[in-house]
């Protein structure tokens, strides 16, 4: 009587497991997560997790793939709606990237865990994005909109890494004396960055 009407929906079940797993992995990393805890959190049995994903490690891979896929498509969408190369576009790209990371803290942590594992897979996803971005920078350099004496890939790398570290290491520097808010920091970073990449007249 009290037994819930058994309704089977494997896709929903998979989704529930992935959702709960992502939350736990983001928070604790791979090895600190216990399948029993995950099962409780996703409201499924431990066996069901194995049924759908095989092993803890395969689940970890699935979680990462799903999240990085989301990251990648979001970035691609941003890139495609970019307009003509000019300095303002570079500024807007940095702002967009910064705000994307701010609004997706889970991805940032997942990246961090993955970096510590030495997994280069997430970097490979970026190859297209970075390649396109660097190409854009190269064109801007040729048109005289950006200074020519800097490797275009490094231009992309500098702002990507600054934004990433700002959120990855928040707990480290948020109490530094004089440190400002997200927006204040972004503003100051852009002052340095934009001034540093445009040519001196």
């Amino acid at each position: 009587m009290n037994q819930k009407t058994q309704i089977r929906d494997p896709e929903l079940t998979r989704a529930r497991i992935l959702e709960a797993a992502e939350a736990l992995f983001v928070e604790q990393g791979f090895s600190a997560v216990k399948l029993s805890e995950l099962a409780r959190s996703a409201e499924v049995t431990k066996s069901l997790i194995h049924h759908h994903f095989g092993s803890k490690e395969q689940l970890w891979e699935a979680v990462k793939n799903r999240a990085f896929e989301r990251y990648f498509t979001a970035q691609m969408a941003m890139l495609e709606e970019a307009g003509e190369p000019d300095a303002a576009l570079l500024r807007r790209s940095v702002e967009a990237y910064f705000h994307f990371l701010r609004d997706n803290p889970g991805v940032v942590r997942l990246f961090a865990w993955t970096h510590l594992e030495g997994d280069s897979h997430c970097g490979e996803l970026d190859n297209q994005l970075v390649g396109a971005g660097a190409e854009w920078v190269r064109q801007a350099q040729m048109r005289g909109l950006l200074r020519k004496d800097i490797n275009p890939t490094h231009v992309i790398a500098v702002f990507v890494m600054t934004c990433t570290q700002w959120f990855e290491a928040k707990c480290h520097h948020q109490n530094w004396p004089g440190m400002g808010s997200d927006e204040a920091f972004l503003e100051d970073f852009l002052k340095i960055f934009m001034e540093g990449v445009v040519p001196r007249e």
Copy 2:
């Protein structure tokens, strides 16, 4: 007869454990390290670890404290031998920091693990360093050596975070198309950074 001559040297034992523990924690993080593995690696019994450090977590704290102490004193030494404020000194500080991280990859990883734990202790150690650095920037701003419209703490933060992320996420971006070597990247970053912080004439 085969028994090794029992020589007791508790300080050496502690040091051996700390050494081995640091290597393992740096590599795998807290929860993935097994005390049995550590014991084997340090060539001591598991009980001896508990005798000297109490628990796995206390050992983890001891390892972090020791490493961060090393980091802090090294940075302090660098800071104290700094000379008169001018733009060249800022450049040299960035280079020194970058090369310190390159030569101490363990500290970088330890920081990363600690960030993911949300531990703000390592950031507190930096307060003095950052405070002194920011003060130096402020003075340079007043003398007209650096532009005045940027929060001094943010100047420090930008180069610290870029250098840190370069090494933390090496596996992520090392295969990006067009990405250069450590030195090439540092050179390009300095071009952007130095040009971004000096005043326009």
